[in-house]
């Protein structure tokens, strides 16, 4: 009995950690590249995007897991999209009502969460096949992994392009900001370098 409990705890722990590193949506699966490149010029929008994705992922995984036994196989993608679109619209309205400036900064990228591969991927790969608890943990793990990746990318870009992070100056006055890093090309370069770094670390660990 104790062994069963231990196995379950290990399974939950593994599910949670999978999204953070082994199957990190950004650094390992290369999913959700559109917001990854578009909203990571600064940490604040990146964190807001990450939290919005966690909310949508959590809600859609809960709903999909609850109705998994009722889903018709040929209608499942339609149901997933409908579910995701609902929660994205709610997240978008919430941002417009309570953080209007951030909503403007993120522009079309919040509505575009609807077509974010991470969410539909987790609905298909996890929530439609597992119980509610596993689906919640998976959503939290994957969402946290996505948010973490976005914040790391945004942190590097913001520090080097403005000398500040979270709008707080961290680099000395003599530092000349690399404005190019706040532009789209900077996003590709930084992502490429971080992907390389993650690959090197992964190889060393194996």
């Amino acid at each position: 009995m104790a062994s069963n409990g231990q196995t379950t705890t290990t399974l939950y722990k593994q599910t949670l950690l999978t999204g953070l590193w082994r199957e990190n949506p950004v650094f390992r699966l290369l999913l959700g590249m559109c917001p990854t490149l578009a909203v990571t010029a600064a940490v604040k929008p990146a964190l807001t995007m990450g939290l919005s994705v966690i909310f949508v992922l959590l809600c859609s995984n809960i709903v999909v897991s609850l109705m998994r036994n009722l889903l018709k196989p040929h209608l499942r993608i339609l149901m997933f999209t409908l579910t995701i679109a609902t929660f994205v619209t709610i997240a978008d309205l919430f941002l417009k009502a309570f953080v209007p400036r951030m909503s403007e900064t993120l522009g079309p990228y919040v509505p575009l969460i609807i077509v974010n591969c991470i969410i539909i991927c987790r609905a298909e790969a996890c929530a439609s096949k597992n119980n509610l608890f596993i689906s919640i943990i998976d959503a939290l793990g994957m969402g946290a992994g996505f948010t973490l990746a976005l914040c790391v990318l945004a942190g590097v870009r913001e520090i080097l392009s403005t000398g500040a992070v979270w709008e707080i100056k961290v680099l000395p006055a003599w530092f000349v900001p690399w404005a190019a890093l706040s532009m789209p090309a900077g996003a590709f370069i930084t992502l490429g370098l971080l992907l390389g770094l993650v690959n090197v670390i992964s190889k060393k660990r194996t």
Binding site: M67, L75, M79, L93, F94, A97, P100, S161
Partner: protein, 204 residues
């Protein structure tokens, strides 16, 4: 009959889910839409207050239909800036194409529609570090006090000299020019329609 049964069997979950999700969105929209509307009004008011700081309040004076540079009809709300019941100036919204996306501006002018009081960016998606410098005071200050009429762009010149020649932002000529085109196309039409409505004099 069997067709209807088949249809219901296949789609009942989709129909119920659509109804439930629709209800959820409608509730969220009903609860938050007054706040969203208020946020928009607050933003426009803040921008107008920044352009005409002496104004105590702004009252909607006219809702005009302006032909944009692309030939599309655009609604432009004209607000009257008031202080002690006296008109201090006018502010109106305008829009047009920028380098990356549409640029929306709030333009303020004096009470006689003779000089600009400045402009502020309501929404834009210009290139960060380059085109988005149209939001900075370095560029915007050139419009304060400039005569109403056709503004012209200059690649070099004295940015501190206030006249109808506006010195472009280095590295963002397209965005600089876009702002001037938008203002030029709107200000003439707004002034004309305001004169027709008798809200301002004919300047004769």
């Amino acid at each position: 009959m069997s067709k209807i049964k088949h249809f219901i069997e296949q789609s009942w979950l989709l129909i119920i889910a659509s109804f439930f999700f629709g209800l959820l969105i409608a509730t969220a929209n009903t609860v938050w839409s007054p706040r969203i509307e208020q946020n928009k009004i607050t933003k426009i008011n803040n921008l107008m207050s920044g352009l005409l700081p002496k104004a105590e309040k702004f009252e909607l004076a006219a809702e005009l239909q302006i032909k944009s540079s692309k030939g599309k009809k655009v609604k432009s709300n004209v607000y009257e800036a008031l202080a002690e019941r006296q008109c201090l100036g006018w502010a109106f919204n305008c829009e047009g194409p920028g380098f990356a996306d549409k640029i929306e501006l709030i333009v303020a002018v004096d009470k006689n529609f003779e000089k600009f009081a400045g402009y502020a960016v309501l929404a834009s998606n210009e290139t960060p570090g380059f085109g988005d410098r149209i939001k900075l005071s370095y560029y915007r200050q050139q419009f304060v006090g400039a005569p109403i009429g056709k503004l012209e762009i200059a690649k070099t010149g004295d940015a501190e000299k206030i006249d109808s020649e506006i010195v472009a932002i280095s590295g963002a000529t397209v965005s600089s020019e876009a702002v001037i085109k938008i203002i030029n196309s709107f200000v003439v039409q707004v002034k004309k329609q305001m004169q027709e409505k008798g809200l301002i004099g004919n300047g004769k």
